[in-house]
Symmetry: C2
Subunit: 451 residues, 2 copies
């Protein structure tokens, strides 16, 4: 184990190189969900693997039906030492609405000590401080104290189908004692938090078709059923006035937390601060349930996209042939994403107006995962955070999802810990995503002292 | 008056020239609603005015705040002869969804005797056979038997704001005894029909804003109210289960037709034929009201566009900052478009979730217009149709709207007749709009014999 001052010296003397390489990493428009970007996703994977190999790790690109998974290992600590698997992803979210970005999402721009770019936080920034920590430890000690494995995939933002498909076939490769996922948040700039769980997800889309062509709303209005009307009526039925999801069976498998279990979580929520930060004045979720319980402990459903007819500037008096929507549900233990998909699909099909055709499509999903506050790794992680911040570390759950994690936990037979240095104000998945370079540096030290 | 054989000879000997000029007219992408096309709208107006001047008519471009109005006259029949004002428009609808066009919308393509292009029917095709009829009559007789005025505007597809703004200031110029609007349909390929009325329209859009940035549906789902959920719940409230519009006061000013008045209309509707033609199996309108009564005699409301969040390929787990919709109502006598706009705006504002902000915008409107089956012009028009088709002419009402017509009727103090050679299967306002060249020719003869 290196002492902190040696690490600080290493970081200081490498700062320019680290930032320059981070910016190179951020310049790849590795948007996994859009086939037009496949080439760039692939180039990004190649660049990162080269970077990792230069550390002296054995690495390879594992081919999947879509984007490759980077696998690398450094197994020199011997068979008795524990094995740590670090998971991350090199793909990023799409950049729409592009007009709201104040700088090019793929030209990293530093302002007020923050780097603005798509992926600055999620997950390029976070995985890259972890990788630099590995680099520093190897350069300083040539010994990590653990056997290290890396699994860095290219489809986290589009349901991890590729990694999911190769998990069962690669077998032993994934085995580890601990799984570290540096893709998460701290509670506040000066308040570290260990993430004890993530929600699962089910994502889907559907299209309603009312006619074989777009029709004139004068000639056909009052005769044909407008798919735009059908889709709003259908989607509005998904919730009652109390915000409860109306899909039969939706809440059946929800495992409630005991008051005891809730007590370890920091469920404080400052509504005024939230409104100030995000401009939100209308609140959703289930009526009577506190905001963070809704976000962490209850399943929710969102319409992530809806589109039908003419939406550009001006006006077009059209009854469109089709209308479509993208839906996702965030799930909690023990909800099964496939079962939820079927329930939602059934509900939509049963409630569509007579004669209107509906076509549904799954975008995959994943189970929720919960860690144990009393596990050795959780305790070690809390301790490292407390040292860096000099305040006690709190426990949170993430409302977000990393669909592949429950599968990876199973395949690796490991104990999982979610960490990270994100803030909810970093515009993750939104225009002007950014990450504080100070937090990047803290992340580096945290990863070092963790080991 | 020329006799029919002379006209047939004229058309035959000019057919190539007429088609070539029609295709030139159709090649201008004169989309009035989209500011990006302003240049082409302007070029189209210039070309058409030149064409009209070559007939020996006095013409000018009347400047408006947006697109110019073509005014032209041929007043050589003397003060005792009646004056006929012909109205038309040289602008066209947008072309979305462009991927559904089988040929370039602005490269006219002839297939099976039909010309495919945006504007092939609406209104370039129909106004151009009327203008060619004027050309033939002037070449053959140098005398039209009437004083002729033309009013061809460039914003019919975007609420005619320009023409509306110059109507009061130009005064006498518009005065006429008769107003002819060749922008309408026949009932079937072998069934001529005179159009005794059109519906009015009110068009608007609104935007709901829930936050100041697009947010991550994991981090914020269950806390923030999703504008996509708010907009579907809001829009779904516009109708009850019987298809009746729920905006208070919406039906208050509807003037019901007596059974006697309904009797002159051809209200027959073949549902099976309609389904075959348009692929429509789900029917809208008010429950219990026959389809054509819903379309001709009842006001209707349509969602012409809805958009929120991520709608491209793949998936993005976003709670969008905003969601928006475009709405229009088709109106009947004596509904007032401005009053209806205010009623709908009030309804939306009252029903939006608490804390969510709403911004509304009017896209203008126009009153419904009804003609008189017993007027001299209606009778003359019916007679001309019957002669061309050799069957009795029926009476219909159009579910569509030409917002400016009620204003033009008022400004010109004229008696109005709506005619035309469109068919409901011509894909007006939709991809692959087309017009039969045989109907273009019939329109030419009809316009000639009408005079």
């Amino acid at each position: 184990m290196s002492d902190l001052s040696k690490l600080q010296q290493w970081f200081s003397s490498h700062r320019e190189e680290i930032h320059s390489e981070l910016f190179t990493f951020l310049r790849f428009p590795s948007i996994s969900t859009d086939p037009e970007y496949t080439k760039f996703v692939s180039e990004c994977a190649g660049w990162l693997l080269d970077w990792i190999r230069k550390l002296g790790m054995e690495g390879e690109l594992i081919t999947t039906p879509v984007h490759p998974v980077i696998y690398a290992e450094h197994m020199k600590a011997g068979p008795k030492a524990p094995t740590l698997l670090i998971y991350g992803h090199y793909d990023v979210q799409p950049v729409d609405p592009i007009e709201e970005w104040e700088s090019d999402p793929f030209q990293p721009t530093v302002k007020d000590g923050k780097v603005f770019a798509r992926g600055a936080l999620d997950n390029k920034g976070q995985i890259f401080y972890a990788l630099n920590a590995v680099k520093a430890l190897l350069e300083l000690d040539k010994d990590l104290g653990v056997n290290l494995k890396l699994c860095i995939e290219g489809e986290e933002e589009s349901a991890s189908k590729g990694l999911e498909s190769v998990l069962p076939t690669i077998g032993e490769k994934w085995k580890a004692d601990y799984l570290l996922v540096p893709d998460f948040d701290i509670a506040a700039p000066n308040q570290p938090a260990i993430t004890l769980g993530i929600r699962g997800i089910m994502a889907m889309e559907f299209t309603l078709t009312g006619s074989n062509i777009d029709m004139h709303s004068g000639q056909h209005g009052g005769i044909a059923y407008n798919p735009n009307r059908a889709i709003v009526e259908l989607l509005a039925k998904l919730w009652d006035e109390k915000g409860e999801v109306q899909v039969p069976g939706f809440y059946d498998d929800v495992k409630e937390l005991s008051d005891e279990e809730k007590k370890v979580l920091d469920l404080r929520f400052d509504k005024a601060e939230y409104t100030k930060e995000f401009g939100v004045n209308a609140f959703g979720g289930e009526e009577g349930v506190p905001p963070l319980e809704n976000n962490w402990l209850r399943p929710t459903m969102e319409i992530n996209g809806i589109e039908g007819g003419y939406t550009k500037e001006g006006f077009k008096t059209v009854i469109p042939a089709t209308a479509k929507a993208k839906l996702s549900c965030r799930l909690v233990p023990d909800q099964d994403p496939e079962k939820i998909y079927k329930q939602v699909e059934d509900f939509l099909k049963k409630n569509v107006p007579k004669g209107m055709s509906i076509k549904t499509q799954s975008h995959g999903g994943g189970y929720a995962v919960r860690g144990d506050v009393n596990s050795m790794l959780a305790k070690a992680a809390s301790k490292a955070y407390s040292e860096i911040f000099n305040v006690p570390c709190s426990n949170v759950i993430s409302g977000g999802s990393v669909p592949i994690i429950s599968e990876l936990v199973k395949a690796s037979s490991s104990e999982v810990v979610f960490m990270g240095y994100g803030l909810s104000t970093d515009n993750m998945h939104a225009p002007n995503e950014h990450f504080g370079l100070d937090r990047f540096e803290k992340g580096f030290f945290n990863r070092c002292t963790n080991h």
